[in-house]
């Protein structure tokens, strides 16, 4: 697929980029458009952080909320805890993710596609299921693994405690710490030109040395983006720390923000003040990332693209077993937790008079709201997936491929949403939709849910696409240009197929985010526009937690179904090593 098409050079070449004026206009439109959607709600949140009045009073502005927020006991310790988790997690997850991605994409490991999909499954499984599953395994007194270890003659002294710092890091690692990296980096590894690695091997370097000295440096943009996304993500992580940290007094920054936002009455101003600290991190990260990426040339897909794979020889089988074992750890516990738990009268209790039941499934499947929820979910998630992938790929392409002024501003705008916890983002969107005349007629309809979810995950989508565009050599597009193709034709005929796998992945991720995450839409939905994830929340609120877990299974199956279809499509149209 990666072969270069031959074009007949026309006598007169057309400009493949829009003329300068047109380009500036496009950039201005994009900055205006994205700025409105991202900066407007963000500005409303920041303004609100200076509002010292309670929710019931008219606005009064001052610094009280900031003072109170940062005078919260343990606030700085919780910030340090978040940073600590993020760093330790990345020290383990990043090299593991790079190594597995390399094995899957650059070597002759067995069943690479099936194994890669194993990481997709892990990525799509709800994080809470992983936490519950591992709590069942590693509870210090009742955990199944600990109980088993106690019965083993030589291992009886071993006892793992999941309610610990290492327990929290482990659960993050197996929930999506590794799977996210493998999922995001494998397509980039796959697109890498093998000629550089071949040169390294010809010079006598081992496969491992080549990986460290050639492959990883060549993929720096993707690795940096994946690393930064993971670090920022830790600031919004909540459930794992609530279940595993709060019992022994371990709090993280997101716990504090959500606590304030969910107080009665909500202390949104203080929550917003705390959220601003994450913006400070971005202020350091964004220029750093730009500097690191712009320092060198990272093109790995060129006109002479050679997607050859490395033969592992005798290491092929242990490597397959190693990756298989990781997938087993990542997938089996949460899958059993989700599926097995849905058939149990009470998850984790095997000695009840009636251990197994089909009742929850019967209740979930006969819930008349399920079809309406499915219908709404499909509208919202498909729109988010398709529109998001196409729109953000255009942004990524313009950021990487053009020299238009304002690229830094647009790039920064795309990073900002990652700093805002879901609970605040939802509020910002609510204020924006209610305060903008154009949106008001749509308030209470599914249109605004679609708009909110299309814009969700902006950072992840644009940065992944951008990092992949950096790898793409310019000569393919230049050939297209020389052959007389315009901007759009080049984009659709050359760039699009080369980026197909990444775009499919971004579409699926956005579909998953829209189907599973409800922070942005929770304040916008009604009984008519409720999606499956909101239905699950309502079921939990009404005390039907098991039925809610089945609704979540349905969302996961739906997402995996879409992922299978999209992936087979992506593999067909994308770059392949064969």
């Amino acid at each position: 697929m990666a072969k270069t098409e031959t074009f007949n050079a026309p006598a007169v070449t057309r400009s493949w980029l829009p003329p300068m004026d047109g380009g500036t206009a496009i950039m201005a439109a994009l900055i205006g458009f994205m700025g409105f959607y991202v900066l407007y709600p963000l500005t409303l949140i920041v303004i609100n952080s200076f509002n010292t009045a309670t929710i019931a009073e008219p606005e009064v502005y001052g610094l009280d909320a900031w003072r109170k927020a940062f005078a919260e006991p343990g606030i700085w310790r919780s910030l340090w805890n978040s940073i600590k988790i993020g760093l330790v997690l990345q020290i383990v997850a990043l090299p593991t993710g790079i190594f597995i991605s390399w094995l899957l994409a650059r070597t002759d490991i067995m069943f690479p596609n099936a194994l890669e999909f194993g990481f997709w499954i892990s990525f799509f499984l709800p994080g809470l299921a992983t936490t519950f599953g591992w709590m069942l395994m590693l509870d210090p007194s009742t955990g199944l693994i600990n109980s088993w270890l106690r019965q083993m003659p030589l291992l009886s002294g071993l006892n793992f405690d999941i309610y610990s710092f290492s327990g929290i890091v482990f659960v993050h690692l197996v929930s999506n710490g590794i799977s996210t990296k493998v999922m995001l980096m494998t397509p980039a590894f796959r697109r890498m030109d093998a000629s550089m690695e071949e040169a390294s091997r010809m010079s006598g370097a081992s496969a491992f040395t080549t990986l460290c000295r050639i492959t990883v440096p060549a993929l720096t943009p993707v690795i940096i983006v994946v690393f930064l996304l993971s670090v920022i993500r830790i600031f919004s992580s909540l459930e794992t720390e609530l279940l595993l940290g709060v019992p022994w007094g371990f709090y993280v920054y997101s716990t504090k923000i959500v606590d304030l936002a969910r107080q009665e009455p909500p202390l949104v101003n203080q929550a917003a003040a705390l959220g601003s600290i994450i913006l400070l991190f971005l202020a350091i990260f964004i220029p750093l990332q730009r500097k690191l990426i712009s320092r060198r040339q990272f093109t790995t897909v060129t006109g002479q693209f050679k997607p050859k794979i490395i033969e592992l020889g005798i290491w092929r089988y242990p490597a397959t077993a190693f990756v298989g074992l990781i997938i087993f750890i990542l997938d089996v516990v949460p899958l059993l937790s989700v599926l097995g738990g849905s058939f149990m009268t009470r998850f984790g209790f095997f000695n009840l008079p009636k251990t197994w039941t089909l009742e929850y499934w019967r209740m979930a499947l006969t819930d008349p709201r399920i079809l309406q929820g499915l219908h709404n979910t499909l509208i919202v998630a498909v729109s988010a997936g398709v529109v998001g992938a196409l729109f953000f790929s255009l942004i990524g392409y313009i950021l990487v491929r053009t020299k238009l002024p304002g690229r830094g501003i647009l790039d920064t705008i795309c990073w900002l949403p990652s700093a805002i916890p879901g609970v605040l983002a939802g509020l910002g969107l609510l204020w924006m939709f209610l305060g903008t005349p154009i949106f008001r007629p749509f308030y209470g309809t599914i249109v605004l849910l679609v708009v909110a979810q299309v814009l969700g995950g902006i950072t992840l989508a644009t940065q992944i696409l951008k990092a992949n565009f950096v790898q793409l050599g310019k000569e393919l597009e230049e050939s297209s240009r020389m052959s007389g193709a315009g901007f759009w034709r080049t984009y659709l005929r050359i760039v699009f197929p080369l980026m197909a796998q990444t775009m499919v992945m971004v579409a699926v991720i956005k579909f998953m985010f829209a189907a599973q995450h409800n922070g942005a839409i929770i304040l916008l939905a009604t009984s008519e526009t409720r999606t499956l994830s909101l239905l699950a929340l309502d079921q939990v609120a009404a005390g039907y937690r098991e039925v809610a877990s089945i609704t979540i299974i349905m969302i996961t199956v739906l997402t995996l179904g879409v992922a299978i279809v999209a992936r087979s499509f992506g593999l067909k149209v994308g770059i392949r090593a064969d």
Binding site: P247, R262, P265, R346, W431, L523, G543
Partner: protein, 425 residues
């Protein structure tokens, strides 16, 4: 666990919030302005005038006295006629409005019964947590959108609406005599959270099952007679508490203890600094720990979940603190009703409020979950779990007072006690 019953309840809950598929049929009616006497009353008046003009002086006096007597006897009949015609007019107007918007937390199964009784009035349900719904209502109002009609958003959140003057008084909505008649309600009057007794109506007052739960294989209920017994050394490191610093049952329970005249801050201070309690924010996690014998006692959890776990076969139960020295606590179970100011569907709201507070409505509320003991006294309590029912002659502390709304002093005591405990232990 009675699976079939659970399934039936769930179906009821689910079907209740599905909007009616058929469109709202609007009945053409001519609006009636002001009072119009009924035909019977008009006939009687005309006859009286005819007879009166043709009488002698004495006959007129006698006739006047008889008429006065008739008026006294007939007045209630006329009053009945008046509320009925007002009720009918309101229903017709409500049917023209076609719907009302109900912002609510918790169970909504009883809405189905309302829609069956009034099929031309659709309940548009917006579900969420109390604080989320409060945020949404306030944002909508500030954005010039007055969408909420009736709100059931807990105990604390409606108070913020009250403070923001976003509510209208409830009594003008009452039309049905059975709703208006305060003698039908507990302690002979309507209960409100606000001190004006007008805005945040409390229709439910259940005996709290959320204060104390225990592992029935580790604790004999007879061992405990008072909250102060929990401070005995034998319960050290044996208690799991739902975090009072977050919203939910943890906060409600600790707040009830804080304001209890026989417990107060001293109880909380000692509990959190001396007893090495485990804190959890997940009700399910705490109940599972209790069942797994990691802890003997759970405080301020979700009693309903404990009873459900018990029905599933787990060795857990809730304590009936009504028999303890300090007495039980009556709580609204986050079931309060407030009528939004500038309600876009005032007539549909009135019909819903009247139905909800009527015997039928309160029975439906009690059936939906079996834990909300209506403050109506003239209805059967057979649908309620025995422990949630108020007992005659028992001593209860009411937890829906205005002065209980502020949780900050309690949370400060808890935070300080936990910090002290951490340093000490």
């Amino acid at each position: 666990m009675d699976d079939s019953n659970l399934g039936e309840k769930f179906r009821l809950l689910a079907s209740s919030v599905i909007p009616a598929q058929a469109g709202i049929q609007v009945r053409a009616t001519s609006p009636t302005h002001g009072y119009r006497p009924s035909p019977v009353w008009r006939t009687l008046s005309a006859t009286w005038m005819l007879v009166f003009t043709g009488m002698t002086e004495i006959s007129r006096v006698v006739f006047l006295l008889l008429s006065a007597l008739l008026l006294v006897v007939g007045a209630p009949a006329h009053a009945a006629d008046a509320w009925q015609s007002e009720w009918e007019r309101t229903i017709k107007a409500a049917e023209q409005e076609g719907e009302f918007t109900y912002y609510t937390l918790g169970e909504v199964g009883f809405i189905g019964e309302f829609e069956r009784k009034f099929p031309r009035i659709k309940a548009r349900v917006v579900q969420g947590k109390g604080n989320e719904l409060l945020t949404r209502i306030m944002a909508e109002r500030r954005g010039g959108r007055f969408l909420a009609d009736v709100a059931r958003i807990g105990n604390t959140s409606p108070y913020a609406l009250y403070q923001a003057k976003a509510l209208q008084a409830m009594p003008p909505a009452f039309i049905l005599p059975e709703v208006k008649d305060e003698s039908k309600w507990w302690s002979g009057k309507h209960q409100y959270i606000d001190s004006e007794s007008k805005y945040i109506f409390v229709p439910v007052g259940s005996v709290s099952v959320n204060m104390v739960a225990y592992n029935s294989e580790m604790v004999a209920p007879a061992e405990l007679h008072s909250f102060w017994d929990l401070l005995h050394e034998k319960w050290r490191a044996k208690i799991v508490v739902i975090d009072p610093r977050a919203t939910g049952y943890g906060r409600s329970g600790a707040r009830a203890a804080y304001f209890h005249p026989q417990l107060g801050s001293e109880f909380l201070r000692r509990l959190f600094s001396e007893q090495v309690v485990m804190i959890s924010r997940d009700y399910r996690q705490a109940i599972d720990w209790l069942a797994q014998k990691r802890f003997s006692v759970m405080l301020f959890g979700n009693g309903d979940d404990v009873l459900q776990a018990r029905a599933q076969g787990l060795p857990v139960n809730v304590v009936d603190t009504g028999v303890w020295k300090e007495g039980g606590m009556l709580e609204p179970g986050a079931f309060t009703i407030a009528w939004a100011d500038k309600s876009p569907h005032p007539n549909a709201s009135k019909v819903f409020i009247n139905w909800l507070l009527s015997r039928d409505g309160q029975l439906a509320v009690q059936r939906d979950g079996g834990i909300n003991d209506s403050l109506r006294l003239d209805i059967s309590k057979s649908d309620l779990r025995p422990m949630a029912r108020r007992k005659d002659g028992a001593k209860y502390v009411v937890t829906w007072k205005e002065e209980y709304i502020d949780a900050e002093p309690m949370q400060k005591v808890v935070s300080q006690a936990l910090a002290r405990g951490a340093r000490k232990n």
